[in-house]
């Protein structure tokens, strides 16, 4: 089967809805797992974009389906890393999901964190990644200025100071 170029996103979206619905039905107690695929398949056209996003958020941004297939990523924002963006598409988030993450500002001095994602405008995300703050990078907090001031961090062998506003958008996994 081959699809016209413009139809590809639509098909992908249906497959995504299919996956999400399957996960949702699977999590609902009392539904026979044998009928999941069929039932979900019947309803792929039902969820609107909004419902899809809400469903995705409620289910914790699932990536795997009950039968071992994967849920295709969202089409809502191609440049975005987030599957269910909670903000408008002018901001974008990079990096992963599904983990317990806290903003950099919640990290105490001398603690380390692994960057999960950065939720900000293109300029800031690129600037930070050029300075070595790429997803997966381990950073440590050196000190935090008083009165909601900037944060000094240690990353890739050098120290950076980052304003509170930006630091709040850098999400990290707390590692000991």
């Amino acid at each position: 089967m081959s699809l016209a170029h413009s139809e590809v996103p639509v098909a992908r979206k249906l497959r995504r809805n299919h996956g999400l619905l399957e996960v949702a039905l699977d999590k609902t107690p009392g539904i026979d797992c044998g009928i999941l695929h069929g039932e979900a398949g019947e309803s792929v056209h039902v969820p609107s974009d909004e419902t899809e996003t809400t469903l995705c958020r409620m289910l914790g941004e699932p990536t795997g389906r009950p039968h071992g297939n994967t849920v295709p990523p969202s089409e809502s924002d191609a440049e975005s890393g987030a599957d269910c963006p909670s903000e408008k598409s002018s901001t974008f988030a990079t990096g992963g999901r599904k983990r317990d993450v806290i903003p950099l500002t919640a990290l105490a001095p001398n603690r380390k964190g692994r960057i999960a994602f950065i939720r900000s405008g293109v300029g800031v995300v690129r600037r930070l990644s050029d300075l070595g703050l790429t997803p997966g990078t381990v950073i440590s907090v050196v000190r935090v200025a008083p009165l909601r001031g900037p944060v000094e961090i240690h990353v890739r062998g050098c120290n950076l100071i980052i304003g509170r506003g930006i630091a709040q958008k850098i999400f990290v996994e707390d590692i000991v």
Binding site: G95, V124, A145
Partner: protein, 654 residues
């Protein structure tokens, strides 16, 4: 304008008689490019320990085995795809003007991040040599770098250097010249993950036949990263690859759940990290470094601020006492030889010429030069970024972030480099606000007036009050501008360099470079100005001219009538006004001709009323005529309006 000679390229319009070989120094901010440049060319490009000093490319020359070589010092740059104004200069130069050879200066203490940029140069296939700098500082930190391993891994010659002491610098030039002769581009060894690599290859195929003058692989990568300049170049020739690149870059975004540019950056950093790891060995430094211990104090939530204010007060007190002592000593020296001759000509010669000269020397040697040295010491020591950290939050009140403190602090020395330094601000809006505010910072010339007049004859506490008033006005104007100008402030992202021991040689050399225009311009100006004023006075013409301005100077501001021509000449150089007051008084004891209130109001007006001509010229160049005129008019208005209010309130108090 001569004041900014230290920031403008020494040779702006180079002629290339036989097309000199061009060597460009490029690398991250604050890695020692300017230090290497100064070593090679014997010029005095400003160096200091903070990222963003070099905002324009500087050009110099050297002779290498009888050949003329042009050396270019480029502003620091972290990536070929960033947006800041000074970084743009470097990017455009490397990408578009293509020097014969690039010397990539890298900091051995932060090798990994530095290599990130090196990898981008490699991808561009520019002929290059690497100068591995600050090897001494790295050793102190317990970092040993095997430059041969680095060389092997990158396929580029690596020369270890300690630029500040000139070690290895000439070997770098030898290596660079050898490369420049052959224009031998390095073999690009960087390979990304398969999903990215496959798309680069596919895009390279589409790009076949699209001649951009750049390596095809590099163009493909830049298209995937959505690098606007390259996208435009390709689009003009053939829009198809750009469309394909968008699809491919979206696919990469889909796979990694991150924007494609970030995916590529991550992988590049991965390569940088593994390269650095291979070449470096670490030994634990025996004790916490001096810099870290200092930071525990200077960046402490309470002590840090106390330290900052104490230091400022100490500097003001020192300059005040030292300047007063120099002025007194010089006056005694000169008055000892005063022949006290009567008559018009001897009077003109003595009061106009000699008093003018020693007043000028007092201001220069007592106030300006020591101030330049102190600012230079702070700069070279690395204190400026600490202030950016401490003051980030307070700066938000004015819609700025902490980096704005750096030009503002430079403004204490001279407003001209402060205006140019505003380029480190990321947006036009932030640049304009910072520039406006930096022209109100009391520069060394104004400090000379405030301390030499109010500090010396009224009391240091009144001088401090003037500073406090000035800061309050700066804050108020900042707040107003923040409300008036459209746009939102951006956040602070800045590198924090370690403290280092300031090099006295560098500091003195730089203070001298900044001081030179004072000797060649201000001292003659003050002498001529005082001859004119004394001459007018003897001829009986002074009251006529002064009376024109009397409604403002005398009625509103309560100043003596003779201050009008002094205020006018003060537009050329503010410190001239102090020297000219001394000329009018016929002695350094200015208190004989002015009351304490008049001295405070006079200093206040001098502090605010107009950016001096040099600063005005810098404003025009950096922000355009309209903004420069706007800033000047607002300041004249503020100085006159608030000056009158100050006069009236002081009369109630004193």
């Amino acid at each position: 304008m001569a004041q900014c000679s230290d920031l403008t390229p020494p040779n702006k319009t180079p002629e290339h008689p036989e097309r000199a070989t061009v060597i460009a120094l490029a690398g991250n901010a604050n890695v020692g490019k300017s230090a290497i440049f100064n070593q090679l060319t014997g010029l005095d490009q400003v160096i200091g320990n903070w990222p963003g000093k070099t905002v324009e490319k500087a050009e110099g020359r050297l002779y290498h085995h009888g050949k003329i070589v042009t050396v270019l010092d480029l502003p620091g740059i972290y990536s070929l795809s960033t947006y800041s104004m000074e970084e743009l200069v470097s990017r455009e130069f490397i990408a578009l003007e293509r020097p014969d050879v690039v010397v990539n200066v890298i900091d051995a203490t932060t090798l990994e991040r530095n290599l990130f940029f090196t990898l981008q140069l490699l991808e561009m296939e520019v002929p290059m040599v690497i100068a591995l700098n600050m090897t001494d500082a790295a050793k102190k930190k317990g970092i040993n770098t095997d430059h041969r391993k680095l060389q092997e891994r990158l396929g580029v010659q690596v020369v270890p250097t300690i630029a500040i002491r000139g070690i290895g610098v000439h070997e770098v030039v030898d290596a660079a010249m050898a490369i420049a002769v052959e224009r031998r581009a390095p073999h690009n060894v960087i390979r990304y993950g398969p999903e990215v690599e496959r798309r680069i290859e596919r895009l390279s195929e589409v790009l076949e036949g699209v001649d951009t003058g750049y390596p095809r692989r590099w163009v493909a990568i830049k298209l995937l990263e959505r690098y606007p300049q390259v996208t435009r170049i390709v689009e003009d020739k053939n829009p198809q690859p750009v469309k394909d690149a968008e699809t491919l870059s979206d696919e990469i975004s889909q796979i990694h759940r991150e924007p494609c540019a970030v995916v590529i950056s991550s992988e590049r950093y991965g390569i940088a990290a593994s390269t650095a790891k291979e070449a470096q060995t670490f030994s634990k430094p025996t004790k916490t470094s001096m810099s870290d211990r200092l930071d525990a104090l200077s960046m402490h939530p309470v002590e840090g601020y106390a330290f900052m204010f104490a230091m400022m007060l100490a500097i003001l007190t020192f300059i005040s006492v030292f300047g007063g002592w120099v002025a007194g000593t010089l006056e005694t020296l000169f008055e000892d030889v005063n022949p006290h001759m009567a008559g018009v000509w001897p009077e003109l010669a003595w009061n106009g010429g000699v008093v003018g000269l020693y007043a000028a020397l007092s201001v220069a040697l007592g106030f300006i030069l020591p101030f330049y040295i102190i600012i230079g010491l702070l700069e070279d020591w690395g204190y400026l970024p600490r202030v950016a950290y401490l003051m980030d939050r307070p700066c938000h009140v004015m819609g700025l972030h902490g980096k704005a403190c750096i030009p503002l602090l430079l403004g204490f020395g001279c407003n001209v480099p402060a205006c140019v330094g505003c380029r480190i601000m990321e947006t036009k809006r932030d640049r304009l606000i910072t520039m406006f505010l930096s022209t109100m910072v009391p520069c060394s010339a104004r400090t000379a007036v405030i301390l030499g007049l109010v500090g010396a004859f009224v009391g240091l506490q009144w001088a401090v009050l003037l500073y406090v008033l000035d800061f309050a006005i700066i804050l108020g104007v900042g707040r107003a501008l923040n409300r008036l100008l459209p746009g939102r402030p951006v956040g602070l992202i800045m590198e924090m360099p370690s403290y280092r021991r300031p090099s006295m040689r560098v500091v003195l050399k730089q203070a001298w470079a900044r001081f030179k225009p004072f000797v060649s311009f201000a001292i003659p100006l003050i002498v001529v100005g005082s001859l004119v004023i004394v001459g007018l006075d003897i001829a009986g013409l002074l009251p006529g001219i002064s009376n024109v301005f009397a409604p403002v100077t005398v009625l509103w501001l309560g100043l003596p009538v003779f201050t009008a021509p002094i205020l006018i000449l003060g537009i050329l150089r503010k410190e001239a006004s102090l020297a000219l007051l001394a000329t009018v008084a016929g002695t350094w004891e200015i208190s004989t001709v002015m009351t304490p209130v008049q001295m405070i109001v006079f200093s206040f007006v001098i502090m605010l009323y107009f950016p001096c001509v040099s600063t005005f010229a810098a404003l025009v160049r950096e922000a355009g005529w309209k903004n420069a005129a706007f800033i000047s008019l607002v300041e004249i208005g503020l100085a006159v309006f608030l000056g009158g209010i100050l006069y009236r309130s002081l009369n109630l108090l004193m």
